[in-house]
């Protein structure tokens, strides 16, 4: 009996010491790029800045793609945390060139030193070649420069980008599916980015559309209850909820309106998980 209690007492102390040792240890700041894929790195000529470009997936596909940049002063080797960064995707089809919707980093002074932007590739690389330009204005050195890299854009099995010519104004709109990126049974965030083609070089975000969504399992012919239509947040991002009652192949229909005018009622995203 005594042996047992002595044993348990020493166990208790051991555990306490171990816990104390653990809590004293400095936990290193989590690496913001831990789960990212390094796409490329290079120098923004003129800005004396080394640019490292990360994406979430190794393969870039047609649709909404986030880019994560870290900047280093190539002279001092120090991380740059005060800069103005602009993104510019460009498609060269030989006879013509066009850009695509893109989002510049919101902040010029990111705390973790990661500049996050996005581009919406509106076609795969098959019809031409994509490049991505990252324009850097290093506020500390007040130098400017650009890194341009080639990008290979593949067409995904289930498209996450839809475009239509709106019935009410004859303009071309692009709708990119942003969430759910990891669909699950239950309530999923439903987020889309909406862009209007103003010119071949300008694709501004649109906040004027109104959407209604309806998920369906085409194989079964049923939907799901309590979905929430996406409403505009900012920068052309619309957020709502889509509910999946089971795994499998879902088709999320979305109808687009402007005020009471119908823009398009034939579009859908296919989501399979």
């Amino acid at each position: 009996m005594q042996t047992i209690s002595r044993f348990s007492v020493s166990l208790f102390f051991l555990a306490a010491i171990f816990a104390a040792a653990c809590s004293k240890e400095d936990s290193p700041a989590p690496d913001p790029m831990a789960n990212m894929v390094k796409l490329t790195e290079g120098f923004a000529a003129g800005a004396a800045t080394k640019v490292q470009v990360y994406t979430e997936q190794a393969t870039i596909q047609t649709g909404y793609t986030r880019f994560y940049l870290t900047l280093t002063d190539s002279a001092t080797g120090k991380s740059i945390r005060d800069a103005h960064v602009k993104l510019m995707p460009m498609m060269d089809m030989g006879t013509m060139k066009h850009s695509a919707p893109c989002e510049d980093p919101v902040t010029e002074k990111p705390a973790d030193g990661v500049y996050q932007g996005a581009a919406v590739f509106i076609m795969p690389s098959m019809g031409g070649s994509w490049t991505m330009s990252f324009m850097i204005h290093n506020h500390l050195s007040n130098k400017e420069g650009t890194l341009t890299v080639p990008i290979t854009v593949a067409e995904p099995a289930k498209s996450t980008l839809k475009s239509f010519t709106a019935k009410h104004d004859g303009q071309k709109y692009f709708v990119a599916l942003i969430e759910p990126s990891k669909p699950k049974i239950g309530i999923n965030d439903f987020e889309i980015g909406v862009y209007k083609r103003a010119s071949m070089m300008s694709f501004p975000a649109d906040s004027t559309m109104r959407f209604s969504i309806e998920p369906e399992m085409p194989t079964m012919g049923h939907g799901s209850p309590n979905n929430v239509n996406p409403v505009h947040q900012r920068n052309g991002h619309f957020k709502g909820n889509v509910n999946f009652t089971m795994t499998g192949f879902w088709r999320v229909h979305f109808d687009a309106f402007q005020q009471s005018a119908v823009a398009d009622t034939t579009q859908y995203f296919d989501i399979e998980f």
Partner: protein
């Protein structure tokens, strides 16, 4: 209201009686009669009467109790109902243990785990009298398993039976063995059943109605001293390819394992009459299967699991005032999960939880106090409180339930059941009683969390409602029971029991169409969700007459009727029509002959909402013969007979899909007792 007033009048008379007479010796005996009558005696006679047919399943026997009807989805695995109360409205306990089916389609009620050879006795406690074992509005079926007996020191007793029935080409084999030595006694049971698709009246073969099943159990009892014994019990039940012609799927494999350890005291003294305590665990796995069905749009797997652990203690005490107090304290914890996976070609499998993982934890105490007031009056109070909590146990389950818009936090409910019975002796051997009570019952796992469960009867997918209210009932039951005649060699001894009952249900739980939701199941009519209906009403009665008609003749006659409707006058579902059964047995010695007549009126009061339709009436005749001969040191029994003599094509009102029942079935069975 009249009933309540009437009761108050009786109760006040009772109080007077108590002050006037302290002589309760005559009453104690009456109390015992009453107790047994209430719990088992006349019903047990019925059970024993029908248990004479060894190839009967427990379902066959129970269906002959006037309070019990079965919802039939297949030839086996029928769901018991008491006076039209079903599912979560009633309790079905095996040796006091809670067992929950693992099938979302109710293919596996606990009654399938008990073979008649395993059965010691059945108690059907109607309405409130069943609340001691669990909050219930409809009653409780107690299935008590056979006990190891210590009849013959050091000698093995065995009973071997083998039988065949023509309508389903059904084979039945069973072996029962008793052994006792020293402080130990053992009981082993094994039953094997195999049947093919059966032949309905008129000749049609009903596809997907066959089954294969093995049931085996072992019980060991160790006597600690004269009054105290320990008991270990283990039961296994495996079923393969059990067909459910009224459902779109069958059972591929189902397995139940039931284990318990108990301590029992028979005459402990110190005011106790008996007590026992038990810990138990059971686990049911269930796999539905559609691979034998043609024209399945898409193959699907539907596995389910139910796992329960629990404990209870119960006992009986005599009080100083000549009363009897029975009590029971129990707790149990049940985990349920079921899922469905479909395999469309060239697509990701479609998977969902049909029972999102959830755990029900229940603890409760029940008591029944019986007090004689004078030589004629007796009062009984039954009370029970239950604390029941439900919680979704996995993130996946919570996320799925949240799709329906419900809170996924745990819920807990406090359930109260109370009833008071006044009984009066009218003359020796006869008694009238009146019970009024208030009862509550918990919604079931399916009613709370069920996720698009297809109901083949009405063709709707059912979704649970996590915030359903507790269903409750105000109820009254009155009756008269007694004996008439002297019995003896030439005499007549009749026992009769007449019962009438009524209940007003509030928050009655029923499926209501949700027009905005789309059905999950291909071809389903739509979606229904479980909802609380403001009120519903149920009433009816039963009459049983049984007895010895002279030296060699025995007879049983039962009559039953139930009427139930909601506040708008719509009949409630699963309400059996007027039904009667008369059975007469002639047994001049080793030979016996028995004729049965069963008749049901047409049921015109059906629930269209629940997918029911009019069920025509029918009349059946069954004949049974038995002969027992001693051969050497053994006893040989031969039974043969014919069910549905006139090969009538019929179905009962609670049968899903109007699937006709078995046609003429000629059976024979031989049993050897060693």
């Amino acid at each position: 209201m009249t009933i309540a007033l009437g009761f108050l009048a009786l109760a006040s008379q009772g109080q007077h009686g108590h002050t006037l007479s302290m002589d309760s010796s005559a009453f104690v005996q009456l109390g015992e009669v009453y107790l047994k009558a209430q719990a088992s005696s006349p019903r047990q006679k019925l059970v024993n009467y029908y248990r004479g047919n060894p190839n009967f399943t427990l379902e066959d026997i129970m269906a002959r109790l006037p309070e019990v009807s079965f919802v039939r989805r297949g030839a086996y695995g029928m769901e018991p109902t008491i006076r039209g109360y079903s599912g979560g409205q009633i309790n079905v306990l095996v040796d006091g243990m809670r067992i929950y089916g693992a099938c979302t389609d109710k293919m596996d009620p606990p009654t399938i785990y008990i073979e008649p050879t395993n059965l010691d006795h059945i108690q059907v406690q109607t309405m409130q009298s069943g609340s001691m074992h669990g909050s219930t509005i409809g009653g409780t079926v107690l299935l008590n398993m056979a006990q190891p007996s210590h009849a013959d020191e050091g000698r093995l007793h065995a009973n071997l039976s083998s039988g065949y029935g023509s309508a389903a080409k059904a084979w039945y084999e069973s072996l029962q063995m008793h052994y006792g030595k020293g402080r130990w006694s053992f009981l082993a049971n094994g039953t094997w059943r195999k049947s093919q698709d059966y032949r309905a009246g008129g000749g049609d073969i009903i596809p997907y109605s066959g089954m294969k099943k093995l049931n085996y159990s072992l019980a060991a009892k160790y006597r600690l001293n004269e009054n105290l014994s320990l008991k270990m019990q283990w039961l296994g039940d495996d079923g393969w390819n059990i067909g459910y012609p009224a459902l779109p799927m069958d059972v591929g494999y189902a397995a139940a394992r039931i284990a318990s350890l108990s301590i029992e005291s028979e005459k402990p003294g110190h005011g106790w009459t008996d007590w026992n305590a038990r810990v138990y665990a059971n686990r049911v796995r269930h796999y539905m299967d559609d691979t034998h069905r043609p024209d399945v749009p898409m193959h699907m797997d539907m596995p389910g699991l139910s796992s329960t652990q629990g404990a209870y203690a119960e006992g009986t005490r005599k009080t100083g005032t000549g009363g009897t107090l029975r009590f029971r304290a129990d707790l149990s914890s049940t985990f349920l999960t079921a899922s469905m996976t479909m395999y469309p070609p060239n697509e990701a499998p479609m998977y969902m939880l049909t029972w999102p993982d959830h755990r029900k934890t229940q603890s409760g105490i029940g008591a029944s106090y019986q007090q004689p007031l004078d030589s004629n009056w007796q009062l009984q109070v039954n009370a029970r409180i239950d604390y029941i909590s439900h919680r979704l146990t996995s993130e996946e389950a919570k996320e799925e339930v949240s799709v329906l818009g419900y809170e996924t936090d745990p819920r807990s409910d406090f359930l109260k059941n109370l009833s008071i019975t006044a009984a009066r002796k009218l003359r020796p051997g006869s008694q009238a009683f009146l019970t009024i009570g208030y009862a509550e019952r918990m919604p079931t796992g399916s009613e709370l969390y069920g996720f698009y469960l297809f109901n083949a009867q009405d063709g709707y997918d059912y979704i649970g409602k996590a915030n359903l209210l507790v269903e409750n009932s105000l109820q009254a039951e009155t009756g008269l029971r007694g004996k008439w005649g002297k019995g003896g060699d030439r005499g007549l001894l009749l026992q009769y029991q007449l019962t009438a009952f009524a209940a007003r249900l509030s928050n009655y739980i029923i499926g209501i169409v949700e027009p905005s939701l789309s059905a999950m199941t291909i071809g389903a009519n739509g979606v229904k969700s479980w909802q609380n209906l403001a009120t519903a009403f149920q009433t009816g009665g039963e009459a049983t007459l049984s007895g010895q008609l002279g030296k060699n003749w025995q007879g049983v006659a039962t009559l039953r009727y139930t009427f139930a409707e909601d506040a708008d006058g719509n009949p409630l579902p699963s309400i059996p029509p007027l039904k009667t059964a008369v059975s007469l047995r002639f047994q001049p010695g080793a030979f016996s002959a028995q004729a049965e007549w069963e008749a049901a009126a047409a049921q015109h009061r059906f629930s269209t909402r629940a997918g029911e339709d009019m069920t025509p009436g029918f009349m059946l005749v069954n004949l049974r013969f038995g002969y027992t001969i001693p051969v050497a040191k053994t006893t040989l029994g031969i039974q043969a007979g014919v069910d549905n003599l006139f090969d009538l094509r019929y179905h009962e009102h609670l049968d899903w899909g109007n699937i006709p029942r078995m046609g003429r079935n000629i059976y024979a069975q031989i049993s050897i007792r060693l």
